[in-house]
């Protein structure tokens, strides 16, 4: 039948010795699978993973949940101030971080930074700062300064600074260079070239990044207290330690609601930025 088809179409038809397209090497895929599987097993052993433990542990966890229910909602009346403190930590931390980020962005953006060494240094510092999670910074600061809201604010500030500076630098590097060229051509001092040419182009994005980081900081601020850095987390820590589980669960629900509300507000604000 293939011969007939070949005649009809005037072609030579498939030749027996024609080269078939090379099949992707199966060996490589198998090796990759084995490697990943080995990684799994090794990780499982290293972390003492025993699914059996999980099953055995369920009654304990259920026990915990039962002792946390129903939550003691009346307790929340005393939690208003700590919650406010949490929000204030998030606000201040984000604001300080953003303020710190502004001058650094001028150095860490390739298209407006003037000295190469400073650029590379700034980039390196930002990358290193961003490797440390906010709670880690908070625990170190709390150990250095004593418990309270100050180490929390400082930790959030450093953390926010890293993220905002990196994201804003990337935005700055992507702006239209035309207006900058035009402003230089008018003989304007350099700082004004930046202010009139760069800032209008990146301001909305910068504010959006600040709000995004603010969302993250709100979540973080609620648990910073668990390592002693202030906010409602400290009361949660205390209640868990004192085994006042119904209070603790009330706080958890409050945190829940709080984060959802702040997320909503933040998203709404970001939507209005355009």
């Amino acid at each position: 039948m293939s011969k007939r088809w070949a005649e009809v179409n005037g072609e030579a038809g498939p030749r027996a010795d024609a080269h078939a397209p090379a099949r992707p090497s199966k060996a490589r895929t198998t090796m990759a699978f084995i490697f990943v599987a080995a990684l799994y097993v090794w990780s499982g052993i290293g972390t003492e993973t025993r699914p059996v433990s999980l099953l055995l542990g369920i009654p304990d966890m259920a026990n915990l949940f039962s002792r946390m229910w129903p939550p003691n909602m009346a307790y929340l009346r005393t939690m208003v101030v700590p919650l406010m403190e949490t929000m204030q930590m998030a606000v201040l931390g984000t604001a300080l971080g953003a303020a710190l980020a502004v001058p650094v962005v001028l150095v860490s953006s390739r298209n407006i930074s003037r000295y190469r060494k400073a650029y590379y240094t700034a980039r390196a510092v930002l990358n290193l700062v961003r490797t440390l999670p906010d709670i880690l910074l908070a625990s170190v600061f709390a150990a250095a300064l004593g418990f309270g809201a100050l180490p929390g604010v400082m930790a959030l500030a450093v953390f926010s600074f890293g993220i905002i500076a990196k994201l804003t630098s990337e935005t700055v590097e992507a702006i239209d260079p035309g207006p900058l060229e035009a402003l230089s051509a008018t003989g304007s001092p350099r700082i004004n070239v930046v202010y009139y040419g760069v800032v209008p182009q990146v301001l909305p994005q910068f504010v959006a990044y600040c709000l995004y980081v603010f969302e993250i900081n709100v979540r973080a601020a609620t648990v910073l207290g668990l390592v002693g850095a202030g906010g409602i987390g400290m009361w949660l820590q205390r209640d868990m330690n004192l085994m006042m589980y119904r209070n603790a669960s009330a706080i958890i629900l409050l945190i829940f609601a709080f984060v959802l509300v702040m997320d909503f507000i933040s998203n709404w604000l970001r939507g209005r930025l355009v």
């Binding site: 400082m154 648990v223 829940f256």
Partner: protein
């Protein structure tokens, strides 16, 4: 052409109001945490002083720190891997363009949001209650939390696919499962993998702090070192974390660039 005639006066007014509002909020926030520039002025030099105490590192702790860092990697790896698989079905359920049951997406997304909003450290405490302190609790925490995070992202990926191939396949008489297998899966798989790898980057950081509440990894020796104000040891640990996380970030970027 719809051009706004914004007079200079009203623009100035708006700008002033905005700046004023921001200042008011900041002042309220500062008062609430008893924040003042003087306290900051004391705090920053103190932190810098402590940082200077971190060097030279206490190299004697290097073996223990290395082991713990490896353990952190394992926690993050296992947790992310399990979550990346388990989150897939939930992601599909939460995608608007594939759902057949009314309210299916809302339920799925609500569940995912609930998991996501639950603070990781608290989740760690819960699991410690169940399986005892140690890295296993960390694996479970990262796993469960990541299911929430990845599930939502997966759903968004699925919602963003090209539906044309789906129609083509359905028109050729394929069953629903076949349609999914041959037109949806090839489109979403690379993006799923990319999201999972990015999640792994984040989870490396998360895993390093879980030890602070007892769920294994580098956080545990860090907690001890901080408690004892053993700053050289703290310095070693922090540097170790920075190195490992940076390495993970680089590998992750490389893998993700090869995927998409």
């Amino acid at each position: 052409m719809s051009a706004h005639r914004i007079s200079p006066k009203s623009r100035l007014c708006r700008a002033f109001l905005l700046v004023g509002a921001v200042i008011v909020v900041l002042a309220w926030a500062a008062r609430g945490v008893e924040f003042s520039l003087t306290r900051l002025g004391v705090g920053v030099p103190q932190v810098l002083r402590i940082m200077s105490l971190m060097w030279p590192f206490s190299w004697v702790h290097l073996p223990d720190v290395t082991v713990r860092l490896i353990e952190t990697f394992q926690i993050a790896f296992l947790g992310t891997s399990i979550a990346s698989v388990l989150a897939a079905p939930i992601g599909f359920l939460g995608a608007r363009n594939l759902s057949r049951v009314r309210g299916q997406t809302y339920l799925a997304k609500f569940m995912l949001n609930a998991i996501r909003t639950f603070p990781e450290l608290l989740l760690g405490l819960v699991f410690i209650r169940g399986v005892g302190p140690g890295p296993f609790a960390g694996v479970l925490t990262i796993g469960v939390h990541s299911i929430g995070m990845l599930g939502k992202l997966y759903a968004e990926v699925v919602e963003g696919i090209d539906t044309a191939p789906l129609e083509a396949l359905a028109a050729s008489g394929a069953t629903r499962a076949q349609v999914v297998r041959y037109s949806v899966v090839p489109q979403v798989l690379p993006e799923f993998a990319s999201q999972a790898i990015y999640r792994f980057e984040i989870n490396m950081r998360a895993a390093s702090i879980l030890g602070l509440v007892g769920a294994g990894g580098i956080g545990t020796p860090l907690l001890f070192a901080l408690y004892q104000h053993d700053w050289p040891r703290v310095g070693l640990i922090l540097t170790g974390i920075m190195i490992v996380v940076t390495a993970t970030d680089l590998v992750s970027s490389y893998l993700r660039s090869r995927l998409v």
